[in-house]
């Protein structure tokens, strides 16, 4: 479904991604874990076309999209929930969801119903400006907005960041539900324990390089991972 082959990304002089390759197969949850600044968000931003790689290629749904503009990938079935949520703070909850269906305007009504069913809290706040929502609600809105385009592959960047533990659990439950409903997921997380628990497979990114990869269960047992990311 997604194949990233040997990409190198630079921010000016800084070499942010070094020969990164990874693959996500249809129906999988794949986690990308690593410390702050390891290049996790950069990887997602490059896949979605906001950043460009100097080398290699990105193949999405059997098509080379290395040079395709970001806005065209949405209609192909890619949704990216960015780090820090990036909901439109000055627009209402409903308007945010409409923006999610920008390329799929036939689906606005039904899509909004689906999102409200999944996130009932958003329904109560549908006419509120997104800037007035709590952090957890904003995360739900960001995920709901991404679902509006009916994505085949959903990339989630730190969905648990800054949320209370009970909300983190809720977000991960939703990720599992989405997966069961047939969405393929690429998940970036600092919360390695939770991420490895839900993931079929995982990659560990360190200083811009893929350090390890394997099944979620394997990596959760690995001593190296335990020491570096699981606190023991």
């Amino acid at each position: 479904m997604l194949k990233v082959d040997n990409i190198n990304v630079y921010y000016g002089q800084i070499h942010a991604l070094k020969d990164v390759s990874l693959e996500v197969k249809k129906g999988e949850i794949v986690a990308l874990i690593g410390a702050n600044g390891a290049g996790k968000s950069t990887t997602l931003r490059t896949i979605s076309g906001l950043l460009r790689s100097k080398t290699g290629s990105i193949t999405l749904f059997d098509e080379n999209v290395s040079h395709v503009e970001a806005y065209k990938l949405v209609a192909k079935g890619l949704a990216h929930v960015p780090e820090g949520r990036h909901v439109f703070l000055q627009m209402t909850v409903l308007e945010n969801l409409e923006m999610g269906a920008y390329t799929n305007s036939a689906n606005v009504k039904a899509g909004i119903e689906d999102v409200f069913e999944r996130f009932p809290r958003l329904k109560h706040r549908k006419d509120q400006i997104a800037g007035t929502l709590s952090g957890g609600e904003q995360q739900m809105l960001a995920m709901g907005r991404a679902l509006m385009s009916k994505p085949k592959l959903m990339m989630l960047d730190e969905p648990s960041m800054g949320l209370a533990p009970i909300l983190v659990q809720q977000i991960f439950d939703i990720i599992k539900e989405l997966h069961e409903a047939g969405t393929t997921i690429l998940l970036v997380e600092q919360n390695a324990e939770m991420a490895l628990h839900v993931a079929d497979r995982a990659y560990v990114l360190e200083s811009g390089r893929i350090k390890l990869s394997g099944s979620g269960a394997e990596l959760a047992k690995s001593d190296e991972i335990k020491k570096a990311y699981l606190g023991g």
């Binding site: 906001l50 806005y71 439109f88 627009m91 923006m99 904003q138």
Partner: protein, 293 residues
């Protein structure tokens, strides 16, 4: 009666500033740049309308539509050739380019139309309305200007609140990357904003020259700067802010002219701006939303 007459003149002049300020504020909102060539698009619009009525004998309304069409194309071309290549450049580079485009337009106008002032004939050739036995005289231009301003405000608000493209433009102006991730073509949104702003500039040019009929290649620069002030005054990036800022600025200018001093009126206008920005740095209707972490 002088007070009311001044007030009407102020609102009318302010409406012109407001229409120009909308162009500044929309472009700033979406492209985060100050398009200092915007004032000169006004001048081009006025010249086009002037030529259409004078040389082609077209009816005034057609001349306005023609001016709007030419300015729309001009705005999109300026954006595409001068600003788009600088999308990732520093804001200083973009600012200097905008000033360069401004001088370029003025000098092209000088080449085409010469430096001798043209006498612009009003697009509404109707007699002024005398009220209270001639004590209060209202020009038809001022009525048309205010009505045009209100209509534009209503249409723009509907466009940005109700249409898919308008909402998309609001999304782009708030967060370009997120908008792009929604599938919104950011470049198209920016072009459309320039097109709308430039069409409005053409209307403003025609209205301005109908009230103050001397047309030279630098006609647009002072109203351009004042309208920019109005946009900042009202809160740059905000559409209602541009409206409020423009009208207040027009009223302040006319009142200073008639009650204090004609020579000092511009100084007073800018002094008020400084005071407003000291008290409320985001402008009258400018807002700041706290970001949740």
């Amino acid at each position: 009666m002088t007070f009311i007459s001044n007030l009407i003149n102020g609102i009318s002049l302010g409406s012109v500033y407001a229409i120009i300020a909308l162009g500044y504020t929309m472009v700033y909102g979406i492209a985060k740049m100050l398009n200092f060539a915007h004032g000169d698009v006004i001048m081009v619009g006025a010249y086009i309308s002037f030529c259409a009525t004078t040389y082609l004998n077209l009816p005034p309304v057609v001349s306005v539509l023609l001016a709007m069409a030419v300015c729309t194309v001009l705005g999109v071309v300026i954006e595409g050739l001068a600003y788009k290549p600088l999308r990732k450049a520093s804001s200083l580079a973009v600012l200097i380019t905008a000033i360069g485009v401004s001088y370029f337009l003025q000098n092209v106008a000088l080449l085409i139309w010469g430096s001798a002032p043209k006498t612009f004939s009003s697009i509404v050739p109707l007699d002024s309305i005398a009220l209270f036995g001639g004590k209060l005289i209202i020009t038809v231009e001022s009525i048309v200007t205010v009505v045009a301003c209100i209509l534009i405000m209503i249409l723009l608000t509907l466009f940005t609140k109700k249409t898919r493209m308008g909402k998309g433009m609001r999304a782009v102006s708030e967060d370009k990357d997120a908008a792009e991730l929604m599938g919104i073509n950011v470049n198209v949104s920016i072009s459309v904003t320039f097109a709308i702003g430039s069409a409005l500039a053409a209307i403003a040019g025609v209205l301005l020259c109908s009230a103050y009929p001397v047309l030279v290649p630098t006609t647009g620069s002072m109203p351009g700067i004042k309208a920019f002030t109005a946009a900042v005054f009202g809160g740059i990036g905000s559409i209602p802010g541009a409206m409020v800022g423009g009208i207040l600025l027009g009223i302040i200018e006319i009142f200073s002219k008639s009650y204090i001093s004609t020579a000092l009126s511009d100084a007073i206008v800018f002094a008020v701006l400084i005071v407003v920005l000291l008290v409320k740095p985001t402008g009258i209707l400018g807002k700041k939303i706290m970001e949740k972490v």
